[in-house]
Symmetry: C2
Subunit: 250 residues, 2 copies
């Protein structure tokens, strides 16, 4: 069984989970049909939890010390512990070769650059926009506090800056949509791949951040001819592979 | 017969041509084995030449008027005139289906994003570095003048800024190299694609800009385990398909 680690929210059930990078892995696991359990921990517990199971850091902090991030996984079938979404999904392709490959042969470099590009669109445009709406009713107190201390720039946007960010995000995502065929569901056309994990991860977080009933989410789903809603639908049309915990607070 | 348009240099024969985007097309034509003639024009004649054959603009100037750029092609076999390197290479895949496809099925979006990412590496890091070494003995007087007026920022770099640019370029290209397998020649492994047109175009221009015997070019060819020299070699190992003009000044 695979245990996947994410950051805690006050949502329960399949709506739990805060990191777009963890959602990439959840998307891949669902398309692969591999069951998993999700462990949601407070943002301040990531480092200790990662160390306790032997998950490696994924980068360095400004002071040079190792930085630990979600997602990381522990796979009881193989005994492996893997950090970082691209590494995890690449591992799943190799360890579960009977499932659909998310990094089709020859596309590794291209998938990596696509992920970087999409992260730049979201990170520079939309992340500050939704972060400025914090705290939401679904955030834990610890997450709110972490953002207040570590990302103060996100909570100081003027309405004009929010509007500008949202417009840039829409426009850059529109450029991506233009490269795709009108009827395509996936970035590679009729074939799912890591590129879709990336897009799905960034978009689905907005759903649980804004909540399904908000104008923002509805606008997101109608954007670019409803292209992104088709990706969301493709995910929900597949059987759920997440095994819900008996203790709903975990 | 395909006629391909580029900007003039004082180089002759197959060393002619200044634009990394035109070199993308030359790379594709050589891998496809499609003969072509290269017409090199002065930078100030691009717009009039494009208009005279009906080649479309590729963007807009700051004042909103249409901007014309190289490359553009005229294909006497089909009567088509196409502007912009990605569009041209996509056209060649369709019009010459018996040749190797540069945009393998399903990779269109990924190839487009890769091209953007590589252009950002070159455009922001190395272009100012080599532009600051202008004028070279191979530049036409008109090109020198154009750069002096239109890109004054490129000719005002301090030695420290040049050094910094070169180091950032090396480091970002190194990140790309890390995504590739040690023995891979192409971005997709053993299969050539548009991604290689992009890399080749940016690198080969440095060769003719610096000249083959310079320390800079030799350093470039030894970078990252000689990875980029293998790409250059793959191109030169194929038969030349460029038909040289009788008038060497054209």
């Amino acid at each position: 069984m695979i245990t996947l680690y994410d950051m805690k929210t006050l949502h329960t059930g399949t709506r739990r989970g805060l990191s777009p990078h963890t959602w990439k892995v959840r998307f891949a696991l669902r398309f692969k049909g591999i069951p998993y359990t999700l462990k949601c921990i407070e943002i301040g517990d990531i480092e200790a939890t990662a160390k306790s199971i032997g998950a490696l850091p994924t980068g360095k902090k400004v002071d040079g010390s190792p930085r630990y991030t979600v997602p990381f996984i522990q796979d009881s079938k193989t005994g492996k512990i893997i950090s970082e979404s691209f590494e995890i999904i690449e591992y799943l392709d190799v360890a579960y070769p009977e499932t659909i490959s998310m990094i089709p042969k020859g596309t590794r470099v291209l998938q990596g650059y696509f992920a970087d590009a999409v992260y730049k669109i979201i990170g520079t445009q939309i992340l500050p926009v939704y972060a400025s709406a914090m705290p939401t009713p679904y955030q834990t107190r610890e997450t709110t506090e972490w953002f207040r201390i570590n990302r103060p720039q996100f909570t100081k946007l003027s309405p004009e800056q929010e509007k500008e960010g949202w417009e840039k995000f829409r426009s850059e995502l529109g450029e991506l949509a233009k490269l795709m065929k009108e009827t395509d569901v996936f970035a590679m056309g009729d074939r799912v791949s890591f590129a879709d994990c990336v897009l799905f991860g960034q978009i689905i977080v907005l759903k649980f951040f804004w909540d399904e009933e908000t104008t923002e989410w509805k606008e997101m789903m109608s954007l670019h001819g409803g292209r992104w809603s088709r990706l969301i639908t493709a995910y929900y049309n597949l059987p759920d592979v997440e095994i819900q915990p008996e203790d709903p607070s975990s």
